[in-house]
Chain length 265, copies 2
DNA sequence: CCATCTTTGTGCACGCGTTCACAAAGACAT
DNA sequence: ATGTCTTTGTGAACGCGTGCACAAAGATGG
């Protein structure tokens, strides 16, 4: 998963726990699958398995939305799809702009999961003049000079940032100033935004690092000696203030470290 | 953030809380930034701000790794970079395969944040014969027939799935059978894996849906009447078992609903 | 109409994560 | 050497999220 969520104490909107909100899209996906196969009803047990969660958790999650099940039977698939869609705000149309049309931006523009859930790509924006006019996913790329104009004309409130890290904050500021109040950030930077603006971030390399941690643990059962000396004792073996082991990474990374280097932006 | 994590009770490896592990890459990024600017030391306050977290949380996180700070001064940047890198397992080389070379797969292959953190793209794999041999990010794409061979020859333990949803489970099974024990899944499906295999998932559309929820709340302060009737009472207004409102989404989505449609795979 | 059986909805307890607030540790000046 | 000042490391309290286990609700069959 990408990690994410901002520092704010998790809006806690009208009693629906943030953790539940994060799972609703999961349920929705499982439910639309069932809907396509014309399954009329599901039990919490079946749906929970399909969504990869615990059935008790699922029932509790649904209880925050209301009593939509029928005891002894289960949940009506179509009805639940509608209710969750409505709760998530997917019954209305959300115009979205994607800024930074590199590989990632193009992948996002082509992503089918957006359009089918009420998200409409209003515009693709890139800072490279050479990109302007070039169609990506059937939509012509527009130059970032027109960013504010595009936001206002289309009433865009959600922006996706897929630029290099260096440009992200600046793009973010412009989006916010133009009226965007929700941002999905793919650039590896911490964005600072005013109150009232939501930011979620997806960091590709963070997920991989978390996997590496667990992978190391798994392997470390055997090679404990080399891999993991007790960290509490490490501080003692060197000088206390400027330890000897510093900078031991063999390959020092260049300044491109934080750059996705994926998108020309 | 991308969401993610699997049902398993969060390995809880050697006392380092999962939540802390998930933040270590964040600290590492902030620290490498400071390192490049040759900043020798940071206080927990400064670093916390740079990483976008609370300073108490940061100190507690570091306390799980050991006592690496100096009271009255702060933390030695280089030393901390090394310690976190080591803890995350980034001081060793992790060969990775990416399966599914569409737009997203290509974006991942080009992503600079991988190589700089000890991840090496051992191979790009795609099921489309037309892709075979074509270089992406300087690496020739190989056909998925060779998947097992590639995994074994390179000792790959981490796999990235960027295929359409329909192919994901099958690819996953083959990866696992060939020896992969950590999977980063970008396909919108719940993967089932045997014990001992870690899965993290990144779902682009889920993040957007969560944003839409909060966006709706923000807007809903005004248009309460239409947007959010009390859900507990909704169940009463229709028939109890098969409610009237079902299927009210105007645009029914096709079967491509779950398909990223991004990558030919 | 009653009994049985299935499945929901939730009260409760527990554990993890977050935050506060402060004592202890050390740097630095005198 | 002693005092002051800064900043860490952590004990303790709190709140959220999870999962168990069960009572209530309703369907279904006789």
């Amino acid at each position: 998963m990408a990690t994410g969520r901002t520092h704010r104490p998790a809006t806690r909107s009208r009693g629906i726990p943030e953790a539940t909100v994060a799972r609703l899209p999961l349920y929705l996906r499982a439910l639309t699958g069932l809907s396509e196969r014309s399954v009329p009803t599901v039990s919490s047990e079946e749906l929970a398995t399909a969504a990869g969660v615990n059935s008790a958790k699922l029932r509790k999650d649904f209880s925050y939305l209301g009593s939509y099940g029928t005891r002894g039977v289960g949940y009506d698939v179509e009805y639940l799809v509608y209710q969750i869609s409505r709760e998530l705000g997917l019954t209305q149309d959300w115009p979205v702009v994607i800024v930074g049309i590199g590989n990632l931006g193009a992948a996002l523009a082509n992503y089918g999961g957006f359009a089918s859930r009420g998200f409409r790509v209003a515009a693709l924006i890139d800072a490279d003049p050479a990109m302007a006019g070039k169609p990506v996913a059937g939509i012509p790329v527009r130059h970032s000079d027109q960013l504010e104009e595009i936001i206002r004309d289309n009433g865009v409130s959600i922006g996706v940032i897929a630029t290099p890290a260096g440009a992200a904050q600046q793009v973010c500021d412009r989006l916010v100033a133009a009226g965007v109040t929700s941002i999905l950030n793919f650039a590896p930077t911490v964005l600072s935004v005013p109150d009232g603006v939501d930011v979620r971030k997806v960091d590709l390399s963070i997920e991989l690092q978390i996997l590496a941690f667990h992978e190391q643990r798994k392997a470390g059962e055997d090679v404990r000696d080399v891999a993991a000396p007790p960290p509490t004792t490490v501080a003692q073996d060197g000088a206390s203030s400027r330890p000897a082991g510093a900078g031991a990474r063999t390959d020092r990374e260049g300044p491109d470290d934080e750059l996705p280097a994926v998108m020309p932006a």
